[in-house]
Amino acid sequence: MKLEKVIDFLSFILILVALYFAFIYAPVEKVMGPVQKIFYFHVASAWIAFFAFFVTFICSIFLLATNRYIFDDIASSSAGIGIIFCSIVLITGPIWAKPIWGTWWTWDPRLTTTLILWFIYVGYLMLRKFIDEEDKRAKFAAAVGIVGFIDVPIVFLSIRWWRTIHPNVLQKGGGGLHPDMITSLIVSVIAFTFLYLMLMNKNLKIKALERKILTIENE
């Protein structure tokens, strides 16, 4: 079997396993009840989103350094996948927050940074749509990919400063997870990572085909 098929198969199986772990294996949280189950997918999506944007950042640097379009393909695919998972984070978060915090949204540093991250990469993808020349598109998008990623820690820092000046309404009571919950979370994260790899693979294939069509058309 080719590696690609193996990844496809593994991600399918692993997602099923992750569903089992999240819904059946992990105990129901005493206070929050079933709504806590969203946690496994929320955290895994957040991990994939940040990881995907990090890949975009690294590949943007490589693109500028080497001028090879494969890095542009990886960077743009990764940003696209990152946006999807970032959206999942931003949707599942409020669904959990409404019953637990009593509000859909709060301007907590982590929430705010995630939303801003989403906007930065939506801008990145929009820019790609609106530049026709391939060479310019790759380089300009790389600039946004690099500058955007560097901005995120600064945003995080600044809004944390802001929130410590004002009283913090919602303190996160962290930790204290049941060991079975931790196991489920790890399984979920691994499953999502394979899902990312699979999506990346498909995306790169599509990009390669697109390039092929383009060269045939130009001939």
């Binding site: 026709d132 310019k136 380089k139 500058v147």
Partner: protein, 226 residues
């Protein structure tokens, strides 16, 4: 090194001469910022007490929106007639051309602020210099940061099909640290709270300026090379 600064200066000189002839950029920015200041005044009742919490934000929103307008306009004049491409073909450091544009955009913005701030002071009846002169570095540092990122993204967005829309979409999320820090420190100065509280905000703007100056300097040559 000397040649580098000379290039920056020549680009700056060119922009200033062009601007002195037409006064298009500064004029449009100025009218826009003044209008923003006035339109935002409808947020609150005349003489309302809580306005003092909002005015810093209003002033910076006026600067940011007018700045985006000015950046678009200033970069359009470079693109018309292929001027930007010609500049980038010149046998000089490409980042020097970039920083020349940053410098001229910075000066245009500062000029716009010099007119807007007194008018703002009169209309809103708040004095941002009453308790301290530290507001001046906030404006200078904030405007510089805005010019660096703004010039970079205006060069990028001007090449896209939806140039007017693309600039704010790219720029605003990335500008959040500066906008936030500038508003927070100006608010502290207006209210006359403990001045040292503004310290970290000013440091944040300075750090932001440094990081992005360095990053853009490092990557700019690679972005525009043909």
């Amino acid at each position: 090194m000397k040649k580098y600064f000379k290039t920056i200066y020549h680009i700056f000189e060119k922009d200033i001469l062009l601007e002195l002839k037409s006064i298009e950029v500064i004029n449009s920015m100025l009218i826009f910022s003044l209008l923003t200041v006035i339109v935002f005044s409808f947020i609150f009742e005349p003489g309302a007490e809580y306005k003092i919490d909002l005015v810093g934000g209003i002033l910076w929103m006026a600067i940011v929106f007018a700045g985006i307008l000015g950046l678009n306009k200033s970069m359009m004049s470079e693109v018309n007639g292929g001027n930007l491409n010609a500049l980038l073909l010149a046998p000089v450091d490409k980042s020097a051309i970039f920083f020349g544009k940053v410098l001229s955009n910075f000066i245009f913005l500062i000029f716009m602020e010099i007119v807007t701030i007194p008018v703002f002071t009169i209309f809103y009846n708040v004095n941002i210099f009453k308790h301290t002169l530290l507001s001046i570095p906030v404006f200078i540092l904030g405007t510089y940061g805005f010019s660096v990122l703004g010039t970079l993204f205006s060069i990028i967005s001007v090449k896209s099909r939806t140039r007017e829309v693309m600039l704010p979409i790219l720029l605003l999320p990335l500008m959040i640290p500066i906008i936030l820090a500038a508003i927070q420190s100006i608010n502290i100065f207006i209210k006359g709270d403990t001045i040292s509280d503004a310290d970290r905000w000013i440091r944040l703007i300075a750090a932001f300026d440094l990081i992005f100056t360095f990053v853009v300097y490092a990557i700019f040559d690679y972005i525009v090379e043909e």
